[in-house]
Symmetry: C2
Subunit: 232 residues, 2 copies
């Protein structure tokens, strides 16, 4: 087996995990790994040579840039996530590393060929795309109705789950992958409101702040209740 793939941490969870070993080797020869430092851009809105990629480790954000130059975070990408618009002539969004990130990058052309050669890959990407769609709609649901407190509680709960090993139970403690400004941006709030509401969540005993980025979940049920969500 290809060396890179052999020790890939997402080899069993990424889209390419549905391929036969031979197929994956073939695909890996046209892909290349790339490492981005925090803040570095994989590609920008408007790029016409934007590629596709699977995130191997780290975290990325997908953000739109409006005509005033303000960015709006649309989605976070976690390891094994797939990035890339395969059917548009150019990228609509910026894709930026939140932490040092390792990616497996493919040109759009190679990716197009791959999904024709390997139908299972197309189906895997379809599944992933529908999951992303569901996540985006959950975000809509959250931001449409929902106070600042509810949005923040939901985001914290999501992060806690993402940080946990067990799939459904939230981690007891984790580091925020985003700055206050990024959190505010993602939730459609201001930095000040995020800061205040974090303080209130701490006062109420739902969380405890550990330094600037550290969060300890004291009362997950309370957090979930505040978020206004049932489960997912």
């Amino acid at each position: 087996m290809n060396l890179v793939c052999a020790q890939c941490p997402v080899r069993d969870s990424a889209a390419c995990s549905v391929l036969e070993e031979k197929e994956r080797d073939a695909l890996s020869t046209v892909g290349r790994t790339r490492v981005l430092k925090r803040g570095e851009m994989l590609f920008a809105a408007g790029d016409d040579e934007a590629a596709c990629a699977t995130l191997v480790s780290g975290a990325m954000k997908i953000a739109a840039v409006d005509r005033d130059g303000n960015e709006q975070i649309l989605s976070l990408v976690h390891p094994s996530g797939f990035i890339g618009e395969m059917f548009t002539p150019f990228a609509h969004h910026d894709v930026v590393a939140l932490t040092e990130s390792r990616l497996c990058v493919f040109s759009r052309k190679d990716m197009e060929r791959a999904i024709e050669d390997y139908p299972a890959l197309a189906r895997a990407l379809l599944r992933r795309s529908q999951e992303d769609l569901h996540a985006a709609r959950s975000m809509i649901e959250l931001t449409a109705h929902g106070s600042a407190e509810a949005r923040l509680a939901a985001l914290l709960y999501d992060f806690a789950r993402a940080a946990s090993d067990s799939p459904c139970h939230p981690a007891g403690e984790f580091d925020l992958p985003l700055s206050r400004g990024e959190i505010a941006n993602m939730l459609g709030l201001t930095i000040e409101t995020v800061s205040r509401k974090l303080g209130e969540l701490e006062d109420v005993g739902a969380i405890r702040r550990k330094g600037k980025r550290g969060i300890e979940i004291i009362d997950p049920a309370h957090l979930l209740a505040l978020s206004g969500k049932d489960e997912n």
Copy 2:
């Protein structure tokens, strides 16, 4: 060729348009057409026998229901749009007809088989899914930052374009497919705010209201400017 398909208005634009004639005929034998009246539900959140469908004519809404029973419209579906979560055990959202709608419905099992048998279909659905994802993210961008006025202007502009024959120019006049309550719900506003802002858009000379549902676009550029968007 199959009779139903032969006179299908979306036969050249729906996902199944990528199939060979023979393949499409085969698929059409396992699908069935269904007609829903305004307000009727295709399936509901939680249904485990939820199916997949292509919208042939009419308009549908996809809506989440929170634990208080309030609905949140997440997306509208227009003719040739595809509906259905193929990889989840049960439906997450309600799917309801906004106007009398005709659909081509497939059981999930048949659909799963179809995307295995016809790789081109899987690719077509992938493309559609990515388009839906992009639409959902545009919605996020709109609702996150953006005043009530901007959201409403953007929605009206979108509707005007959807109502137009030519792909890019907005229609000069059209009927709103949604009630005030549905518009409010979709934009994360209240009925009263929608009503007021519609009045202001009229005062400003951007639109003219014709009865409850009719809208005439007086000044498309102004509307676009208020929406805070560049183009799409």
